[in-house]
């Protein structure tokens, strides 16, 4: 009788409700854009489409990036504003991470390369692609999840904190 709550507390020490609510809101935000425009909004294309403002490389000057770069900036500003509004309302604004800047920067470089090469990220593949039942996305998500688990465990085992 006490086993189930104990198991839940072990797996989810912070509970599950805010995780589920947050996930539903992420899905609703994606759905609003989809229902209005027919677009599957992912967060990582913003990186390349924004580079089209500054770089003359034809890789970035593709019509698909030029056509979408303005709304992708607006999408990103919306994400920043929504998160800011929530944290201000909760009195949590100004929290900063203790994860080392070198981890963030090096990880960021790999994320920028990997998401663009792999055609999507946690939102493009993970939310829109998996929600579409796309085999490509399911494989991509399974792969980045497994690799990330391995790397995070390895870095932790090597004593890097945090």
């Amino acid at each position: 009788m006490t086993l189930t709550p104990l198991l839940i507390e072990t797996l989810f020490p912070r509970g599950v409700s805010h995780y589920l609510l947050g996930g539903i809101l992420i899905g609703l935000g994606t759905a609003v854009i989809y229902l209005g425009t027919g677009i599957h909004a992912g967060a990582s294309t913003f990186l390349e489409s924004t580079l089209s403002y500054a770089s003359k490389l034809s890789r970035f000057q593709q019509p698909k990036f030029i056509a979408s770069r303005d709304w992708r900036v607006v999408f990103t500003l919306g994400i920043v504003a929504g998160a800011a509004a929530y944290s201000l309302a909760m009195g949590e604004f100004g929290w900063t991470t203790d994860v080392q800047p070198s981890r963030l920067f090096l990880g960021g470089i790999l994320i920028g390369m990997g998401t663009r090469l792999g055609k999507g990220c946690t939102s493009g593949h993970g939310v829109c692609g998996v929600g579409s039942g796309s085999k490509t996305s399911i494989l991509n998500v399974a792969l980045f999840m497994l690799v990330a688990i391995g790397v995070a465990q390895l870095v932790f085992a090597m004593g890097v904190r945090p």
Binding site: A43, I79, I109, L117, G118
Partner: protein
Amino acid sequence: MSGPEAATPEDHDASPWFLPLVFVGGFIFGIGLAVSQMARPEIVLEFLQFSDFGLVFVMGGAAAVVSIVFWTASSSDLTAPLSGRRYTRRLKSMDKDVVVGGSVFGVGWGLSGICPGAAYASLGIGNIVILYGVAGMFVGAYLQGYLRETRAPTGATQPAD
């Protein structure tokens, strides 16, 4: 000679409501990332280290909502009011890039605990340190574009300037 920039119509030209709607969608999306705490790299790293599995509900909850909406809309004959586009599912072709890119992204995610959307939201909650990560993402996106352009044969659709 004018570049492709001058000739390309932009998605948001279709309706004056296009950009406001995208902002609202992004705003809700950003609230979700803050509510779920995914905007904090520590929470993501704890998930990857198996000390809190809550993130399963974030991705699962989001994908569940999206799958209901995508499947319902794409099986109708309706078109999107602000663009006239047909509703489709997001189906990308499978190739080696998906495997290599996914693996490289996985290393980055496991190392840092951030992904693009969560990093933007992290900036929103006031976590200015995340700018190291965002800067890295732009460097990485630029590097892959530069390497792909200079090392691979360019496609026939490229302008000849």
